[in-house]
């Protein structure tokens, strides 16, 4: 394929300016991925510091307030700056390719999402130079209110999350429209790859879940800056309202983090088992069911706040029901292995390990769906273990599967399989060493978010064990970095479809040309490339007609700078906000009048 690249090739842009002004979904995907991975390493470093402090009882490495900032920023970094953008990196790069399109529906909006993300991420991360937020990632009121958190940390939290929320909203709108409207001829909804489906579900979740968070953040901002009392009980407000609003967002958010990994695994397992995904409709509909149910379970994060028996019973039942579609997914993945001819590449190792580790997280999740049990689990290390099995054992494992799987497509080069094995096994062992003992610690009564603990509580051994595990994870990530940098320096050797995969992204050259496809595919089945291969259908003919691609634009980054300044102004001086508003408005004006054809 791409044999006639010479006639079709657009002038290739290079240099920093070309990256700043790019509206190419593949480049934006790379920007998202690289930023997300950098933040992943940064968040991991914060975790290592915490594990070092907790290795022995009465540790003296980090003092109390700094420790609070570490666990808050670790969570915020991992959730909003690492897992979500790494997911977004895959959406950006892969979705147009997988649905056989030439770009997303709104290329400039896509660039704007990225630059706004970077602005929000900078606000959040640079808080370390002033005062980082230290109220935990769900930042419960009234601890987050002025009387108890007087510094600027919580303001960084509010403004950072508002900016990041805006970025996510724009990206989600873009992908929802792209998936609904830009599918290749013949690609009905029920022929879309599962990864595309999951992206669609996530986009919908984001679009609907971010507004409640925005409202909560605005109310907190008003409380802190303008003296309202939304969450201050002594003045008539209610701290639990924050929890309700936050978890109305927060629970769908959890699925926003895990569903991309489920999508990736649903691509990797069939490719390397060399057979179609087992029960495609069941996998898709259980994904949708999980998304729908995620709206009626939020109060299970609040079982211990003194809600009445009936509400707790209702939310407990709803929560347990989520176990059903999740179980269906796991069984279908396992059935995909059955009867296959499995090729164990590194990507496949990660995908299979995902099934195992995610299942552990799923099981412990169903365990504390029971309010009496949760009264013992809540806010202990058992919950820490659970959420890390879901987010590390689930999301991160899935993302690594995706990296190894799509690396040849994105770069034209292969990651070393030998180093990949080392990376996988060390990560897998380190991950289980770190997080499995946390179940024991939770049952032994260790609360989360404590910077120190007494000797004699029997928590020392497993804490040391977990700390060693966290260093094993760190070593495995170093191996991955070596692997990555070695590979990108090699000559490109990957052909269009090195894994013999069934989906459309493998139907163009590796890496794809700027216009993605020389000719648009017509989709005839759920696994189009396999169908075409088995029925002797040749790739679509290249007609040589001119393919129009949107020109680069600097307005997205300009508007993003304006939006970021708006936020910075809220933290410093309103004049900065005003300047930001003017810049953003000027950017929108220029954007609207900029010719796109």
């Amino acid at each position: 394929m791409a044999t006639v690249a010479g006639t079709l090739a657009q002038p290739t842009h290079t240099g920093v300016w070309s990256w700043i002004t790019t509206v190419d979904h593949k480049r934006i995907g790379v920007l998202y991925g690289v930023s997300g991975f950098s933040f992943f390493l940064w968040g991991g470093l914060l975790a290592l510091l915490m594990r070092t402090q907790l290795a022995v009882p009465n540790g003296t490495v980090i003092e109390s307030d700094r420790f609070s900032q570490l666990f808050t920023m670790h969570a915020l970094t991992m959730i909003f700056l690492a897992i979500m953008p790494m997911g977004a990196g895959f959406f950006n790069y892969m979705i147009p390719l997988m649905i056989g399109a030439r770009d997303v529906a709104f290329p400039r909006l896509n660039a704007l999402s990225y630059w706004t993300f970077l602005g929000g991420a900078s606000i959040l991360s640079l808080s370390f130079f002033f005062e980082a937020p230290g109220g935990g990632w769900f930042n419960y009121a009234p601890l987050s209110e002025r009387p108890y958190s007087d510094g600027s940390g919580i303001d960084f939290y509010v403004v950072g999350l508002l900016t990041l929320g805006l970025s996510s909203l724009m990206a989600a709108l873009n992908f929802a429209v792209t998936i609904i409207n830009l599918r290749a001829p013949g690609m009905t909804m029920m022929r879309m790859p599962v990864f595309v489906w999951m992206t669609f579900v996530i986009s919908v979740l984001l679009i609907l879940a971010l507004p409640p968070l925005t409202v909560g953040l605005i109310q907190l901002l008003f409380d802190r800056q303008f003296g309202t009392h939304f969450f201050i009980a002594t003045e008539g407000g209610d701290p639990l309202l924050w929890q309700h609003i936050f978890w109305v967002f927060g629970h769908p958010e959890v699925y926003i983090l895990i569903l991309p990994a489920m999508g990736i695994v649903s691509e990797v397992l069939p490719t390397f088992s060399r057979k179609p995904l087992f029960g495609y409709p069941a996998v898709v509909f259980s994904g949708i069911a999980i998304a729908v149910l995620s709206w009626v379970v939020w109060s299970h994060h609040m079982f211990t706040t003194g809600m009445g028996s009936v509400p707790r019973a209702v939310f407990a039942v709803n929560t347990m029901i989520i176990g059903v579609p999740t179980g269906i997914k796991v069984f279908n993945w396992l059935a995909t292995l059955y009867g296959g001819s499995i090729r164990f590449t590194t990507a496949m190792y990660f995908a299979v390990a995902f099934i195992a580790t995610f299942t552990i997280g799923g099981i412990s999740g169903v365990m504390h769906a029971s309010p009496p049990v949760d009264s013992q689990h809540q806010d202990t290390y058992f919950v820490v273990a659970h959420l890390h099995y879901v987010l590390f054992g689930g999301a991160i494992m899935g993302i690594f599967a995706g990296i190894y799987y799509w690396f040849p497509k994105m770069t034209g080069r292969f990651l070393s399989e030998a180093l990949g094995r080392w990376h996988f096994w060390l990560l897998f062992i380190g991950m289980n060493m770190t997080f499995f003992p946390m179940h024991f610690l939770g049952i032994a009564g260790m609360p989360r978010r404590i910077y120190t603990y007494d000797d004699g509580l029997d928590w020392g051994f497993w804490n040391m064990f977990a700390t060693i595990g966290s260093y094993v994870i760190a070593v495995s990530l170093l191996i991955f970095l070596v692997n990555f940098f070695r590979s990108v320096r090699q000559e490109p050797t990957a052909e269009a479809n090195p894994w013999n995969a069934p989906t459309l992204e493998w139907g163009t050259s590796s890496p794809p040309p700027e216009h993605d496809f020389d000719a648009i595919y017509t989709v005839r089945a759920r696994d189009p490339l396999w169908y075409d291969r088995d029925h002797g259908i040749a790739p679509p003919e290249v007609t040589g007609e001119h393919i129009h691609m949107p020109p680069p634009s600097y307005y997205p980054i300009l508007i993003a700078i304006g939006i970021t300044l708006l936020g910075v102004g809220a933290l410093s001086h309103l004049a900065v906000s005003a300047l930001g508003g003017v810049i953003a408005y000027y950017g929108v004006w220029g954007w609207a009048l900029e010719p796109t054809d």
């Binding site: 601890l143 701290p239 088992s273 499995i342 299979v352 009496p372 049990v373």
Partner: protein, 402 residues
């Protein structure tokens, strides 16, 4: 990057919290801890005969199915390990059933643990077996199966059944735990402060802090409140936790099953700021008679035998702004009530033993012991107003308040 020096320099010699068998004896010996732990695990393995079964297939190597089964035992071993550890008697272990609430919790808990264990083993085994059995091998093609409705139905029903089985004991326990306490229940108000617990017995006219005393076997009706941020009330061996939310009147009721000389350990479990990790408390469970005696002593005003001059020295110090000593004009409410402080075993919300030396450290500069402590430093050397001699007198006075 992190300036740990000030904290490290002031690192307190923390109170060890050993219980009956006298475990926590100072410096943490991780080697001993490992050895003990390995012993427990090995014992559990011997006990279940897992080791023998692990060894058996080794003699018949070759067929992938058998090898797969052998590897399937690893997760099983993990479950055994987990169960072995549930029994371990950590002082704050949730698996020690010492209270009526915790007893109720473990009814659904056991059902759920067993179900979780079975699902865990089944899925781990399936993952490993399928991965090994269907590795690519020359001459074998993948079977192009798209799905199977019958299977889908089956594995929709399986989780539905599991969930239903979980729901029944869960809902049963949930509603039992929320039942109204009997009319003769002992009423206790628990009030969360940053970072200490206040306990009030409205019927007995007792106000104390950080050490809760309750009678054995009698239901206690707790009213959980907070004056600042959200805290959580948790004594793992007795009961699950309920949050103390400003703006809410939260209730929980349970009884302690056994009187014993060693206290049960409790801790705040909702992140509440700087010294969240140091917000601890103790629960003493007495026999009915012992509790009566304790309550009588506590309800009395401060013991009159204390020396006049010491009391005057105390009342002349800044203490009375925040602390109450009943029978004197010290009536502050920001800090713990000190009327019977001499009878407590610990100070600083369970951080330090109640000895003259520890009291001195605490009064001199409490935030050097407990970061963020709201009590300002008192010693002149730390920027306060009291001389060492004055502090000595005050310590003597406080120790006498039995």
């Amino acid at each position: 990057m992190y300036d740990a020096a000030p904290f490290a320099a002031a690192a307190p010699r923390r109170l060890t919290v050993g219980v009956a068998d006298g475990t926590g004896t100072g410096g943490w010996d991780w080697r001993a801890s490992v050895a003990a732990r390995v012993g427990t695990v090995a014992g559990a393995w011997e006990g279940t005969g897992v080791r023998a079964r692990v060894a058996a297939p080794r003699r018949t190597p070759g067929r992938p199915r058998i090898r797969a089964l052998r590897r399937g035992l690893v997760p099983l071993a993990l479950v055994v390990l987990a169960v072995a550890l549930l029994g371990c008697d950590a002082p704050m272990s949730t698996s020690e059933i010492e209270g009526s609430w915790n007893k109720e919790v473990w009814k659904p808990y056991w059902v759920i643990i067993w179900l979780a264990g079975i699902v865990f083993v089944a899925i781990m085994a399936a993952t490993i077996v399928l991965s090994l059995m269907y590795r690519e091998r020359p001459g074998r093609e993948a079977r192009q199966i798209h799905g199977n409705t019958k299977f889908e139905v089956v594995w929709t029903i399986i989780p539905v059944v599991i969930v239903l089985v979980m729901m029944v004991p869960t809902l049963d326990s949930l509603f039992k735990l929320d039942e109204e306490p009997p009319a003769d229940a002992l009423k206790v108000e628990v009030i969360g402060h940053q970072w200490w617990f206040e306990f009030r017995y409205p019927e007995l006219d007792i106000v104390t802090a950080n050490e809760l005393h309750i009678p054995e076997g009698r239901v206690v009706d707790y009213a959980l409140r907070s004056v600042d941020v959200i805290h959580s009330f948790w004594v793992p061996q007795l009961a699950g936790k309920v949050d103390m939310v400003p703006g809410r009147d939260n209730r929980m009721a349970f009884s302690a099953l056994n009187a014993r000389p060693e206290p049960y350990l409790g801790q705040c479990v909702e992140f509440c700021g700087t010294s969240h990790a140091n917000m601890r408390f103790r629960v003493f469970v007495h026999t009915a008679e012992d509790f009566e005696r304790w309550a009588r002593e506590q309800a009395a005003p401060r013991v009159s035998s204390v020396s006049r001059t010491a009391e005057e020295a105390f009342l002349a110090a800044p203490c009375l702004g925040c602390h109450t000593v009943r029978g004197t004009n010290a009536a502050g409410i920001a800090g713990p009530n000190l009327t019977h402080v001499g009878s407590r075993t610990t100070i600083g919300s369970g951080m330090l033993e109640n000895t003259p030396a520890e009291l001195r450290r605490w009064i001199a500069n409490s935030s050097a012991v407990k970061p963020g402590s709201k009590m300002p430093p008192m010693a002149q050397s730390a920027g306060g107003t009291l001389t060492d001699e004055q502090i000595d007198v005050i310590i003597g006075y406080l120790q006498s308040l039995k």
